[in-house]
Symmetry: C2
Subunit: 146 residues, 2 copies
DNA sequence: TATTGTTATACTCTATAACTATA
DNA sequence: TATAGTTATAGAGTATAACAATA
């Protein structure tokens, strides 16, 4: 591996990431604001939407890397607004399990769409050749075996 | 432009960005924490380091998209710690102009290095062919005329 | 009066500590 | 006792409003 190649590619990639962060951040944060959704609440929905079964608050806290009280309050607010439901675990009444609702899925989809909107807008600003090259550059990375 | 191509590339790029965010965020936030540096303070240093001349607080507030009081407090803390210096503008004593110090440059370089560290680590985990393709994908985008 | 910053105040989100209820 | 979650409290960061100094 030639160090200088990696060096210059590192700079290129960093520059590209910065560009994309600016481009994709706008719509996304606007949508978060419109939904009055905090970062923790968004990550909570994102975790629940992919979960096979309702999750306890401890599991959420662990997964999100956020304190238990912070999750507890974020979830309580989400519940009040109908984005999740929270129930006592029948087998252990100390535990409360949380699941996303249809309304929650809908909200998360909106946030996801906002995140993709900036990405798509950026790509539409490129020409076909640039998109082709980018696609060929990303493809092998995303499809590689870890 | 075939819509489906853009669709799938949008998804690929979004996935890639998410991957990189995780990969590059760790070192960076660790370094910010080590320097007790807030986001606004970091952006302040980043703006000043590229500025040709000292900037007034109003200009900083505008550039960073942060309220004047927030900038005022962020700068005061940076000044106390020697990362910037702040002086009255001789021509208008209402205005105070801020400039980065050597210590400030050094701190910002550390933050920049932390941000690049994750990017570089990621690239080093790829094989030569993957890096080549990525490089060819980014090159025309970064060098294009706006 | 208008403008540049600063200080006062209130709000959001967070973490640690104290607490409640169940196991 | 130990554990799951909630409530109390304090800290960091922000914005709007009130203020001080200079133009």
């Amino acid at each position: 591996m030639q160090a200088s190649d990696v060096d210059s590619l590192t700079k290129d990639l960093a520059q590209f990431l910065k560009l994309m962060l600016v481009e994709t951040g706008r719509d996304f944060f606007k949508e978060m604001e419109a939904l009055s959704m905090s970062m923790t609440q968004m990550k909570t929905l994102g975790t629940l939407i992919h979960a096979d079964e309702p999750l306890g608050l401890g599991a959420l806290s662990e997964t999100l890397g956020v304190s238990l009280p912070a999750v507890s309050r974020a979830v309580e607010d989400l519940r009040e607004r109908g984005f999740v439901k929270r129930e006592e675990d029948a087998r252990d009444r100390r535990s409360k399990v949380v699941a996303i609702t249809g309304k929650g899925r809908h909200a998360f989809d909106r946030l996801l769409a906002a995140r993709l909107a900036g990405t798509r807008r950026f790509l539409e600003g490129l020409d076909e050749e640039q998109r082709e090259a980018l696609s060929r550059g990303l493809e092998p990375i995303l499809r590689r075996k870890a």
